[in-house]
Symmetry: D3
Subunit: 69 residues, 6 copies
């Protein structure tokens, strides 16, 4: 029954995303003792100009990383 | 005032999506006795590799459906 | 498979909410030709001080409705 | 720490979106007295056929605006 | 940077929820090779009358489970 | 038309939250040149045990802040 949404900037590979979703599914099965079939995971990906952290878009952050992380 | 978000995998036609959003709008108008003009519906669609159920991506599920649904 | 989230201010009765969720479920079944069992609906309700439209909280809006709707 | 999601129809320029996200970040820093670095903003944009208000898709609304807003 | 939201019905213990969020965090660190400090997880919990699956509220489902799962 | 959702841990005052939502509304009006009446903001607040960053719940983080922010 739980639905999991992951909000992230684009740039990860399909394999990383598949691995991540499988790991999340397993985390829910283990912690909640529920069936894997009841767990849904959806990635909501944003273009680098559609996401901002610390006042800078991810396009700006990737062009010029700061130590602020 | 209510905002409705529908999270789904890609693959439905524009006509199905329009029909679905109109039906949702009507359901809110009827149940909540609110004006249609106050109801917003947005679809958040995921590529088949960006959504997983039961530990399998929707790409995998469509390639090889299982009886688990 | 579709997950539907309804964001709304508190104040509706349980019966209105049940009626609304059943209507949404039916709208998806009809428009998408999917099984009812695959449709999940969750209400995310906000207190009247945790939601704002047009620059006024819903507490303010209910105390003094304006024609702006 | 707060995560802000903006759900909107497509059609705004990158510059408008960057300006908007920077303004939201500043609003949180001012109101909550938190560090800008802790504020994340993500835009979740819908195609004009994937969003509806008042029973009409945004494609229909832009083709034929009504006074209902 | 990724923000994870888990939508679920109430009824799990604090310990189960903490365990689940820690597992999700670890899944992202492993799959995306990102710092744990950049991962945020939030649970959005619904009362049993505010969530529905297959046309029945979770209150109804817990009172009378069906084999549909 | 834009809907803004703010996901945050509990602990802010009503006045801070009202101030924040008003600032967000103004940021959208300025950046997108839209009417204030079309902007909706909703806060989705989590209890301190229902939100985690960096592998620690907000309850743990407030009890023992670390320099990791």
């Amino acid at each position: 029954m739980p639905e999991v949404h992951v909000f992230m900037a684009e740039g990860k590979t399909d394999e990383q995303k598949r691995h991540m979703m499988a790991g999340i599914t397993q985390a829910l099965v283990t912690a909640l003792d529920c069936a894997a079939g009841s767990v849904t995971v959806q990635i909501i990906e944003a273009g680098l100009r559609d996401k901002m952290k610390g006042g800078r878009t991810f396009e700006e952050r990737r062009a010029s990383p700061s130590p602020r992380g």
